[in-house]
Symmetry: C2
Subunit: 450 residues, 2 copies
């Protein structure tokens, strides 16, 4: 029995490792187009910033370790060019030798990931303009950052924010350019303002509602800045584009696998594609939203890892299922933690929920205990029965844990009244006697009709 996995990071290697645990005999080949497998790509901004010194630290298992400890053969710098579903084989290009070959499979796992979106900005082609997705990207960006004084980051999503933080902490002058009128559309406007305030406090120049018109270069083609659509020019020797990612579905499309409405590869809850010999997982697939049961797409490391396990188990003959996602996510912008799960208010309304939201602000310690962090929490809930639909938080390091609890509440169908009755821990230096969750939930419960 032969298993082939296309893509050697979170989803692909989770699939390979899980399959190996269930089937000691199967031959498992993983093809990865970059030079690195088994790395935590979410750590790349922190490698660029210097928190993590060497790219190898991001790697949990090397090619050698995968072979010796797991019996998994990982081929780095091997790009899969095509899938022959009838012949059950993939066409592989060895990037170093230029040699092409066919590799047979009985079971195939697609974990092709996602790629950065590169908006068509004049001047973007050429040196000094980067994206950040692979370890190689990270190494290149870190080198360039070491020589630059001014950097422009295009895109104010989580990666853009994390990169801005890390580059600023390295001592660069950072300008962050976001085309939308505000940061973090999935969060309440106030929280976007807090993020903007935190960036300003830390010396990052934020330009929202600012469209990148052209990357400016000198006569030697070196980047010297970015021109915005309104004519302003931002000096920069380096431009990083973090304008989102899109799923890598070319291989899947070319061999006739169905894609979902969100653009990701269509899979069932067993992560099986429309070909029963092919599973897919991670950032390349469409997923199901736990709450709405509708298709959605969240390119997140947690999701990729878990889907990978499910795909691997099923490819090895198992019957695992992936329950779906809430899109739970967190980022840290200097000292501000921002986390969210489920639906934002606007999203809930647009999805047809009779939704309402309450927002509260409260210290995460007893009011009389010094040094408590202001915590902001928004609960989105259904008006008729108070069922929790989503939650967003912004504040200190305790904020993410609350969002995790609220993710559990959404998953298990809890209402805001049930939330308000929880017996949560309290001690003056640790948490207030009424935790922000209880305060928000009891305010929300008052607005539930009936």
């Amino acid at each position: 029995m032969q298993m082939v996995v296309i893509g050697g990071t979170a989803a692909g290697l989770s699939a390979a490792a899980k399959a190996r645990r269930l089937d000691r005999e199967m031959e498992i080949n993983v093809f990865e187009a970059t030079s690195y497998v088994s790395y935590g790509s979410c750590g790349l901004p922190y490698f660029v910033g210097g928190c993590i010194a060497q790219p190898e630290e991001l790697v949990s298992l090397t090619v050698e370790e995968l072979r010796e400890k797991r019996g998994i053969v990982a081929h780095t710098r091997h790009r899969v060019l095509a899938i022959d579903r009838e012949g059950k084989a993939v066409k592989v290009l060895a990037l170093d030798s230029g040699r092409e070959s066919w590799q047979r499979y009985d079971r195939l796992v697609l974990a092709t990931g996602a790629s950065p979106v590169m908006p068509p900005i004049p001047g973007a082609d050429g040196p000094g303009v980067c994206t950040l997705r692979t370890v190689e990207d990270g190494i290149r960006l870190k080198q360039l950052a070491g020589k630059a004084k001014h950097v422009v980051v295009i895109g104010g999503g989580f990666i853009g924010l994390e990169l801005s933080e890390q580059l600023a902490l390295r001592g660069l002058e950072v300008a962050l350019v976001e085309a939308q009128p505000r940061l973090l559309p999935a969060f309440p406007e106030k929280y976007a303002g807090m993020a903007a305030g935190e960036l300003a406090r830390q010396g990052v120049a934020l330009h929202t509602g600012a469209k990148a018109a052209a990357i400016l270069r000198d006569e030697k083609k070196q980047v010297i800045g970015l021109r915005l659509a309104d004519g302003r020019q931002l000096p920069a020797e380096l431009v990083v584009v973090a304008a989102g990612v899109r799923p890598n579905t070319l291989l899947a499309r070319d061999c006739g696998l169905a894609l979902g409405s969100t653009g990701g590869i269509l899979v069932d809850e067993r992560q099986q594609t429309t070909d029963p010999a092919i599973w897919a997982c991670g950032d390349c697939v469409e997923m199901r939203h736990l709450l709405t049961q509708k298709p959605c797409w969240f390119p997140l490391g947690t999701t990729a890892n878990k889907q990978g396990r499910v795909a691997g188990e099923n490819a090895a003959g198992g019957q695992a299922r992936f329950p779906g996602v809430l899109g739970s996510q967190v980022t840290k912008v200097f000292d501000l933690y921002l986390a969210a799960t489920g639906l934002g208010l606007e999203q809930a309304l647009s999805q047809g929920f009779e939704a309402q939201a309450v927002s509260i602000t409260k210290s995460d310690r007893a009011s009389y205990y010094p040094g408590g962090g202001e915590n902001h929490l928004t609960l989105v809930f259904r008006r008729k029965d108070g069922r929790l639909l989503g939650a967003q938080g912004a504040g200190s390091a305790t904020a993410p844990g609350r969002i995790d609890l609220l993710a559990a509440a959404i998953t298990w169908g809890a209402s805001v009244s049930q939330l308000g009755e929880l017996d949560l821990v309290y001690s003056p230096p640790v948490a207030p006697v009424y935790d922000p969750i209880l305060i928000a939930a009891s305010q929300a419960a008052k607005q539930v009709s009936g």
Copy 2:
């Protein structure tokens, strides 16, 4: 309509305030034996330690504010001596004038709290030996601590630990004496060892399995030390006894109200006593355990506040109910956070559950991200179906939030497999891709039979 509340801290004032919100007319009198109302007694160790400078900072509403803003008349230094249930009146002693009087009530709320247990140690009577329960206790202890160089704390519960920390941070030489062979019996032994290690690292001398035999005094009756049962002598100019508390039920017993099997006043889920005109709440009452539905007793600020609201609402004619408790609690010992909810393994077994436990240790950040705190988490679950019964955690500041999530899981009847499927947040500097909760839950799920 006249409402009388006996006890002016968490439970009593929550009851009074809630009743006032529902009934603008009712006359509300609160009798409090100490000089302070509406204070956070859990903050007292931090007042003694100096984190909180003035006792007034612990007070959320003064007598004047209660009268002006809430229309609640609080009588400090007024002790209730007796309850005449037939005549619906309480006999009150004004401590300053020595005058006794009767106060009529239509609805009575008992929030008499709990009092420190004072073990019969020879030499304990006299100056230099304190307990810590009231603001006055705190003021006295803080004064004495200012003059002492060596202090012995008797009792290694949460208060004893918090006091040891605070007195050590003030610069005193602290010896902590615990009669049991280990600290924190509700936690796994390893966590007790971690607490002991943290105390040692911070210079607190811990003596477990050590029975206080006598408090030693010089010829001027000043405390000079504590003799242990094994003959060792610990030098001390000050001894603080933190050997637990017991419910204040004398008034209730004397007027014939029923007590529960745990020693607290018996109430129904509306916080009503066996007299329909009398409600009781807080540390003086017995409560129902959410999971076992059995009587239990947890003298906790969270519980007192919530029960107070329920008692107040019902005393004002409402129909609120208090769902019960899980005994969720947390303490911080220097840099170690310890939190627990629900049942410990031994407790679960002794209550007849076919219970099992798994314990894991994991960083609370991505493995490659520097500075993550080691987090230890224990899940106690039912073997046959994996239902979560309890959880204990020890580690960094993110530990309490996990225990809160697990309290929600217990409350909503989740199994460890359901826990393991949660979509929790992840970002390298904030949380690992598989949160400790997910790791522990999936390990536990493997041990569930069938």
